[in-house]
Symmetry: C2
Subunit: 444 residues, 2 copies
Amino acid sequence: MKERILELLEAKKYPEIAAMVKDMNPADAAVLLEELPQSNMPIVFRLLPKELAADAFAYMDGDTQEVLIQGFTEKELDEVMEEMFLDDTVDMIEEMPANVVKRILRHVDEETRKMINQVLNYPKDSAGSIMTMEYVDLKRSMTVEQAFERIRATGLDSETVYTCYVTDSRRKLEGIVTVRELLLSPKTAVLRDIMETNVKFVSTHTDQEEAARLLSKYDFLALPVVDAEERLVGIVTVDDAIDVIQEEATEDIEKMAAIAPSDKPYIKTSVFETWRKRVPWLLFLMISATFTSGIIISYEDALAANLVLSSFIPMLMDTGGNSGSQSSTTIIRGLSLGEIRYIDVPRVIFKESAVAMLCGLTLAVTNFGKLMLIDHVSMLIAAVVCFTLVVVVLVSNVVGGTLPILAKRLGFDPTVMASPLITTIVDAVALIIYFNIAKLLLGI
Amino acid sequence: MKERILELLEAKKYPEIAAMVKDMNPADAAVLLEELPQSNMPIVFRLLPKELAADAFAYMDGDTQEVLIQGFTEKELDEVMEEMFLDDTVDMIEEMPANVVKRILRHVDEETRKMINQVLNYPKDSAGSIMTMEYVDLKRSMTVEQAFERIRATGLDSETVYTCYVTDSRRKLEGIVTVRELLLSPKTAVLRDIMETNVKFVSTHTDQEEAARLLSKYDFLALPVVDAEERLVGIVTVDDAIDVIQEEATEDIEKMAAIAPSDKPYIKTSVFETWRKRVPWLLFLMISATFTSGIIISYEDALAANLVLSSFIPMLMDTGGNSGSQSSTTIIRGLSLGEIRYIDVPRVIFKESAVAMLCGLTLAVTNFGKLMLIDHVSMLIAAVVCFTLVVVVLVSNVVGGTLPILAKRLGFDPTVMASPLITTIVDAVALIIYFNIAKLLLGI
C-alpha cells in the first residue's frame, strides 16, 4: 500500500489517494503516515477524512505528531485537539518540546488546560498519570431511562461509556453501573437499586502496574481513580492497562539483562542514550568480577600444581550462572505476577534444593562420563570437577531463588537480583568451592 | 478476612460467614476459597449467593474446581455449568481428569457439548482455542431499536454485548457495530448504514499472541474469529487477550533464562517437573561450555608462561556475556513487540558496534586504571586485558544483536538466542581473542 501511495503522490493523483485511505482503521493510518517520507506525509494526512485524521493522530509516535503540528494551521490544530481524549493529549505533550507545548495549550479551553496540568503533576508511573478524566457520571436517583439520556449527551466525549460512575454531590464515588446492566433492566428502575456498591478503585498515586493488575484480575473495562478525599477524579481504561502491562514486562526484561529501562523503542533510541542505559551495570559487574581474579591468584599454588584445573573454570562458572539465572528468573517473574510472597521463602529453598540436587546429579554423571571416556583425565580430577558441579548448582539455585525475595522484602526492586548479578556472585562462590574441593581431594 | 472466617467455621457460625461474603467480588471470593483448607472450602462455597458462587467458580484454579466438582450434587453442577461462559468451561475441562470431564459433559446440553468439542480441537495457543462462541449477532436490515431488543434477549448469555457482529444468512461477517454507536444513533437508523465494514478479524488458527497483539493495537474490546470459509465462529475478548499477553511475556522471560516454558505457577509445579523444564538446556550449555576447556588447554603454553593471565579469564568472560545479553535481550524484546524486523539488520549492526565501542572504551579505561594503580600488574599485561575487553564487547554486541534476528528469519524462536547461549558463544570467542592478543603483545 505504501508503495502505491508513493507512486500516486509522485503523479499528484490526490483524489485516488483519498479514495484509498478513506476507510482505513486509525491505527493503520498512523503506521502508514509514520512510514512515509516527512515531506509527503502531511499531504496524505490532509487527504484523510477529518474524524479519521484526528483519530489517527492520537495513535502516532511523538516525532510524527511534532512534524504535523509544526505544519498545522491554527484551525487544523483546533480540530485535532477537539477530537483527542485527554489522556492521549497528555501523552503527546510529555514528548513535545516546550514551544510546541505552548502552542498546543493555546488551543485547548481553560478547563482542559487545568486538567492537563493536573495530570502532568501526578508522579510518573502512577495511576493518575495514565488516567483519563472523560467518563460518564450519573446520580443514584436517576432512572435507567435518564441514565441513557445522560450517556447520549456526554458519551461522545467519554473514552468509555460502558462503565458509568455514580457519584454524590461532593463527587464521592458511590457505585458503578454498566451499560449491560442498564440494557437488561426495566427503563423505570432507579440506579440506587441496580448499581454495584462494592467498587474497586485506586488512588491517583497508586502505581500504574498495580492498577493494571487489578483491572486484569477483575476483568474490568475501566477502573476508577480517586483523590485523597475519595472523590472520583478519573478512570484508567483497559487499553491503557494493556500498554502498561507490555511496558512493565519490557522493563522487567531489560532490568533482568542489567539494562536501565528505556521507554523508547530500540530503533528510536540514540547510540549515546543506549550507552548510558547499559554502561553503569557493565562497569559495576566488571568491577565485581575482578574479585574473581583475586580468588584465582590466591589459589595460584594449587593451579600451578595442576594446570588442567584452570581449563574447567569457564564451564563450572557458566553452569553455575545458568542454573542461578534459571531460578532467579523464575522467582522474579513469580514475584512480579504476585504468585510468590515472602512467606514462601522456606518452600522456595526446599524446592530449589531438591531441583538442584536432581539437576546437579544429571550434569555430574554426564560430565564424568565425558571426562573419563573422551577427555581421558584422571579419575581424581574428574571427581573434583563433578563434585564441584553438584555443589555449585545447589548453591546457585538457593542463592538465585532467595536473593530476589529478600531484595523485595528489603524494599529493593527484585530484578536487580537477576542473572548478571547472580552470575557474578555465583562465579566467586564457585571458584572458592572448586579450589577447596581440589585441595581436599588432590591433597595439594 | 481468612482468619475471621476460619474462626467462624470453627464455631459453626454459618449465617455470619454468609453475611461477610455475600457482597464479595467473584475474583476475590475465588482467592479466598483457594486459600481455605480443602475440608472447609465447600462449606463456604455453599454459603455464597448462587450467582456469585458460579461467577467465583470460573475464577478458581483447576485444583479447587476439581475438589468442588467432586463434592457437587447433580443439581449444584447443573447450576454452575448453566452460569459459566463457554471459554471458561473449556479452560476448566482442559485441566480436569477424564472422569470429571465425563461428568461435566453430562451436564451441558447437546449444542454446548458440540461447541466445547470444537474449541478443544483447535491447536493449543490458537485464537480458536481461547475464543468464546457466545456473542451478539445482528442482521444488516435491523433498526437500532431492533438491535437493542436482540441485545436484551441474548445479552445475558453473551460474554460481551458492547461489540455486536452483523452477519449474513450464511454467517459470513459483514460488519460490526458497537453499543456506543447504537446509543448515539437515532432509534430508526438501520444497521446497514451505521455499521463499520472495515472489520479486523483473525482465523481460528491464528496464533493467540497475534490475536492479542491486534486487539491491543486497535484498542478493541473483542476481536472476531472466522473459520476457513470466513464464517464468524467466535470472538476473543480483551480480558483473555490480557491473560495471553501476560503468559507470553512469562514464556519469553523463561526461555531467555534457558527454561522450557511452563503454564503453571511456580508454587504449583512439582520438583520433578521443574527439573524436566530446566535440565535439558543446562546439559546442552554445559557440554557447549566444555569446548572452552579445549581452547584453554590448547593455549596451555601461553598460560604456563604467564599464570596471571588465567586470573582475568572470569572477568573477561562475564563482561562479554553481560554485554552480549544486553544486546540480545533488547533485540529479542523488540522482535516480539514487532518493533524490529529483518530489514533492520544493518542498522542494528551499526548501532551495536557504536554502542560497543563506547562501552568497551569506558570499561577498558576504568580497568586499566585499576590494574595499574591497585593491582600493580605490568603495563603490557594491563594492555592485553584492556584491549581484549574492547574487542570482546564489540564482538558480543554484534553477535548478541544479530543472532536473534537471523534465528527468527530462519523460522526459529529468537528467544533461543538469549543470554545463556550467547554467553556460551561469547565465552569461546573471548578466550580465543584473549590468548591471541596476549601472544601478540607479550610475544609468547
